[in-house]
Point group: D5
């Protein structure tokens, strides 16, 4: 189960300047839902044929009062490792969890998933408007 409580933040050292932070994590992995049903029973999922998914997660945001702590973001992304979850939910869930954690002026999450069945998918969701 994604664990948003792992996300930590620190005070933005330049809160008055709307600068942009881009982070890319090429090592995201989760599991495919089994029979179209999402699950977080990890070992179970893998054994029953819930194939691993791999993605690069790209995050762009303009901080307001707080910045995402980098190491905690890494731990949060690891928490998807053994969940059976759809692509659309991965991206929108990360968006919601990050917005909840740091209340940014703007935030965009893009998940670039490895090819499956000869088709590659990229899902992009946005919170707020880029100035």
């Amino acid at each position: 189960m994604p664990q948003p409580e792992l996300l930590e933040h620190f005070p933005n050292p330049y809160p008055d300047r709307p600068y942009e932070i881009f982070m890319t994590c090429p090592e995201f992995t989760s599991l495919c839902p089994i029979g179209g049903v999402e699950t977080d029973a990890a070992e179970l999922a893998l054994l029953k044929g819930g194939a691993p998914d791999f993605a690069t997660i790209n995050i762009t945001y303009i901080p307001a009062a707080a910045c995402v702590e980098l190491k905690s973001l890494k731990l949060y992304l690891w928490s998807f490792r053994n969940d059976g979850i759809f692509y659309e939910r991965v991206v929108n869930r990360i968006l919601d969890d990050l917005v909840g954690a740091v209340q940014p002026r703007f935030l965009q999450v893009s998940g670039d998933f490895n090819i499956r069945g000869g088709i590659k998918s990229v899902i992009t969701a946005t919170h707020g408007a880029r100035p």
Copy 2:
């Protein structure tokens, strides 16, 4: 014959947020029409000189109530394999079939066809306006 009835969809889990989905399929193949006449008599076409065409199909859309089911999209694209069909029709037909299947807020189909006679073609058609 393209088989739009193969296309399946599932409810958009985040229907209120206009997020974007991009899918690319580098393994599209159909046949060239024979003597300028389109046909779906597959074996016939190949034997009579209807040369195979190859393309990458890129699809970008913003879902409304429904999302395209990925495996069904793959099967739908396979259904062009033995048809004799022009480039322009391939792209516009996929656009129409996908719009019919999921009624998106916005949808764009681009077909990037391999070089023929020393010329490469890319056809791009759009439904609705990108926000």
Copy 3:
């Protein structure tokens, strides 16, 4: 001599939708004019030192009632092979000939010429406005 009469067209199968067609031909060749004078006396030109020029011709257009027939475009581009002609005229001439042939909503021709004397040139001309 460029032969616009070689250009053929066929009815646009989707005339109501303003979709875009991009074609790239990396195998264009013509000759350099001799002593700054353009000519179409092919063998003559080559023997007198009219050096071959090589270019990639990129064409983007939005068809109205008619589409350019791909094979006829190839033959038309071949008809420049033994002419002595300036870069600027190559690009504007192709633009004029294509506009004459299919009366598109929009058309752009770009000629990307190989390096000569340590300098590379790209000429781009446009008919109509891209929506």
Copy 4:
């Protein structure tokens, strides 16, 4: 069914010099066998879930008395389009058919197949020794 009878040849114009010919065809496609059983019942295969395979076929050879006619090679490779056949057999079969057709001094066939299930395969088989 692969049709080796499509392969044509012409006399090697320089039979005394052991020169090398490399040909690459990035547009090879066949079908995956259904349930592990190879078949040439094309439409049947595709409908039952025999997924399309895509590969680049690379051929290197040193001709003896005869050279492979390029257009006939293309038609021969097309003849795999609707067969259900394993990767290993594709490559070894092309090797055997080409050796049968032109009796070269040396011939190597390499099939570079698109990723399936997250794994990419390249199979390489050789006839004779490269000098």
Copy 5:
């Protein structure tokens, strides 16, 4: 725990010809051992800080009587997903398991691991001699 019993094989269709098979899997993942101790207590490892490792596994072999079944190889590689294991052991273990499964004439395994602490590692182990 790696599960070599998942590996399946099928009879080599061309056992008399020493041809080569290369497979590359860019989606390998395992966990870093905790405190330098290897473990297969998956959830435990991840929670205690056993960071995920990512690698591309490249396998080249010349089959004797049997070939590795591709889907079973995928499942076997998935079985490392939640183990805490060193790079050196990953590569040598895969080598041993594959040699045990198909008794090839030659086999080489190379693990190309993602950068950690600013250093990237590639480990390569070989069974038998390449002809």
Copy 6:
């Protein structure tokens, strides 16, 4: 400690024309703060585990009366070498120091930091509006 007093400038030779200067320095290095505390006690930091950070610093500006002297910029960037400092501060600090030194019409600093913990960061801050 970053030493802005190292920055030198010279009169803009074309002060009336708002032209743009882009400089990229792929060799920036500083240290990670120890225990989340920034420091400039260099040797101390490295010994206690303040790991080195590496970045490419990209600077784009439109000069007003003065231009940044290139060699002095190099020396200024070197002055971060043994400081423990956060990414966000590196970029905003360089922005502030350069604005202080040459009062440009527009200035943007982007720090593209090497991957750490499987995540790459790019921070971008801007002074003034690009025309």
Copy 7:
């Protein structure tokens, strides 16, 4: 000394159509000023340590009545070879000289200079507004 008198032009064959011409010269070289003083005493400069600079000069323009003659542009760019001159002046000087020679509707010069002291510079100046 840059020699603008070398620049020649010819009548624009399509003066009524605002088409664009891009030229790139990857072989520009000049010398670094000695002790911050610009000079055109070539041999002197090189002997005293005025190090060679190398750049790619990119020029984009929309011709009005006249086009730049390509060979004369080459000779003009060669005339900087043995001058000691700053980057900023190189780019603005070429802009002024070309505007003086052909009075274009729009002209942009960009100088992309090789890395010096670990820093790369790109200077871009513009005359008129791109439509």
Copy 8:
């Protein structure tokens, strides 16, 4: 018709040292033979459908007493422009003509022809042995 009489040479300035010269010409063009019959009736060939071929010609040699004059090589390669000639003959003919002209210690010609009918060809012929 290829014109080997255009090839000129000059005395090798370092005849005692077996050094290597590599030349690559990415701008070779000839015509496809009509109906499988080679011809040098240029205009005729093009009009009757002898399609243009394009290749990069790579030449590597170790000179003995004489070196190939670069400009004359260019003119010689131009002399194939309007001939209908097979790939195999292009490469072997250039090899024979160059060996005849400069009697090198070693010479290799490789013709890398653009894709035709979805297949790319590279022909390589050699005179003498590379030390």
Copy 9:
């Protein structure tokens, strides 16, 4: 001063199999010696103009009884950060220190240093013979 005492090792888990380990560290930095004299007085060196050097260090080895511990290698490479040292010594010193630490069957160190004064250097030293 390089600190070889930082290098740690662990027992090779497969001591009987001569497998190969490649490690690449793209983040090596040291200082240029001042006035041609090597020094380890860090701050001093940087202030007096001992410019930073940057390199990628590539290490390939075949372990005997012991393997290099990855984190200790990272710390060892960090220990060059503030030394003034020549390229040749960097590479040979790392070779000697690693050979001293793990007594490998074979070891090669290659230092690929960033461009300085328009020249790039790569130094490669080897201990033992690669099988």
Copy 10:
């Protein structure tokens, strides 16, 4: 005129180990001889049409007692800037001058010259045998 007297050397710090040094200089420039006659009358050459040549010079050597001093190599390569000299002589001359300066165990010089008249040249000369 090339000035070999500019080349300086320093004692090889590891004279007993035959390690390899590779240096690449992408910024070499000289002039083309006028009318086939080599000259060192710089300004004269450029004015009379001796066009600039550009090359990347690659040098690989195994030092014996002495190493080439990097800055002096740079100055030596600059000394060709205004000479009219053939490609073959550039490469063999640098080889001879470096061998004269440091008496290496092995030395190879390769000059990779920019395209002229649509043809690119690479000349490679060697002193001694690579172990």
